[in-house]
Subunit: 296 residues, 2 copies
């Protein structure tokens, strides 16, 4: 395995911390020959997210950056509108909760109360209103060089990560041009991207010059989250779902998937691609990175 | 790609139907050379599940077997207790809803109403009470031959599937001995296993002689669902999370992961393995099936 040189790692604002003791555990098992083996596996903890006094959801997460996860989740679910005045984000490790506080009651809390009054409860609401907040969203038509995709994939694959150390984890990376900036990983399907959304919101980072790279599938939820974050380009090693493609075309998201070695497919926004790389010059992937794939 | 011979397919009670027109769509894209390409991608639709008059959740699903999905989801969340009298399961394609009706109001609805009264609403409840229903569960100590794992992996990998056709999908297979019986696929993370749970409940199939095989990761949720179904063995191509392993050991679930070619690791219940296969005689995987992996 070829690891990143120091200078490349230094480029990251946030890189994975595969040696953090709280994120992995060594467990004992027996292999196919009956021999004892020790495995490094990732942790998985519940985290309950509150918006002011309202309990919203319990997410299963690896447990790093709980504040970013909570803020990003609420933002991507349109429960926090852009420009909402966040007055505090309080994480309590013992009770495994994060409370996100806003200056005034949010419209979401109000809506939830109304729905509760009219139909008894609103358990389904969080996931039912997925498309909300997406009306009228039209992402900026940012040009993107195909050489960036190849450079990003190579750099990200070489970066020491929990995936390389323990597997069974998703990775999502916020990038600008050919440079990966913030690399989040999580056991929860969409937590990695929510942590990036939280980081962007809390640091005031702009979105229109960014690319989001993910190891996961390009489902509707992934596409919606990227659009909610205002990022104009989403790229993945994995494949597409029909509805994900449809929404990407609707909001003007450049969507690139099935990136493996020199191959990729662009299904939305291909007129924005600047084809400055010769695919034939890109090496095929080695065995280890082929595994970082996933139809799944 | 070597496909299953007819006699093998005939062994299935339910096999994937990769040619069903409602499950995939062909979309246009451009590849890395700028050439037009047509891709087969899986569909993804919302399905809202009701328990009697109570809206429970909206799941994103490929859309086959909505009744099994609804019943299995409710059962695996302990909202339907075993022995609950299901009086009807009504799927409405136009509104994309399934209503599961029971003879009397379930304890879950009652609990939900109470929680709604005391704390305003219960959005987080569905996922917060994951461990509920698991108290005192102790799975039967079924012996399992290691030759079955190899035979199942080979058969399942050869079975024509939406994964082989379109990718970006999870597969879960209910097996007995070395024979795969019910093979479900879905875009939603846990829908495939919920559809199997629904099928088992609605057909009255016994669980104690079964093995569950999945392409996905062995997270806490996957382990809990398997335990809720009463199945004593869970096997996967993918890796583990720490909490998944912990719960498996607690409920006495035989847990086998990282199955690739001749390799596998058993982290719970290894005293039940009958090591009747010589790993050295098992061929390594070809490239196509290596991709059906997923740290993710």
């Amino acid at each position: 395995m070829q690891l990143a040189v120091e200078s490349e790692l230094a480029d990251y604002i946030i890189a994975p911390d595969p040696d953090a003791p709280r994120l992995t555990r060594t467990i004992a098992g027996l292999d196919q020959t009956g021999a004892q083996t020790a495995l490094s596996v990732v942790e998985e903890r519940p985290l309950t997210i509150y918006l002011n006094r309202q309990e919203i959801v319990t997410a299963m997460t690896i447990g790093d950056y709980p504040e970013y996860l909570a803020v990003g989740f609420l933002r991507n679910q349109a429960m926090l509108r852009s420009g909402e005045d966040i007055t505090g984000v309080d994480y309590d490790e013992e009770t495994e909760t994060v409370v996100v506080r806003t200056a005034s009651q949010t419209t979401y809390e109000d809506k939830l109360r109304k729905k509760t009054r009219t139909s008894g409860c609103a358990v389904g609401t969080v996931f039912g209103d997925m498309m909300e907040g997406l009306e009228g969203v039209r992402l900026p038509a940012a040009a993107v060089r195909t050489s960036w995709f190849y450079a990003l994939a190579a750099r990200i694959n070489r970066t020491p990560s929990l995936y390389l150390q323990a597997g069974a984890i998703h990775g999502t990376v916020l990038c600008r041009g050919d440079r990966p900036l913030v690399y989040m990983e999580d056991v929860g399907r969409h937590n990695a991207v929510d942590k990036i959304a939280g980081w962007m919101l809390m640091t005031g980072e702009r979105a229109d010059d960014k690319i989001l790279y993910t190891t996961g599938r390009l489902t509707s939820e992934m596409v919606i989250k990227t659009a909610m974050m205002g990022i104009p380009v989403l790229a993945s090693r994995s494949g597409f779902t029909a509805w994900g493609v449809e929404i990407a075309r609707q909001v003007g998201l450049t969507l690139v998937g099935r990136m493996r070695g020199q191959r990729f497919v662009c299904v939305s926004g291909h007129d924005r691609l600047v084809r400055d790389a010769d695919p034939a010059s890109v090496p095929e992937e080695d065995r280890k990175h082929m595994r970082k794939s996933a139809g799944t």
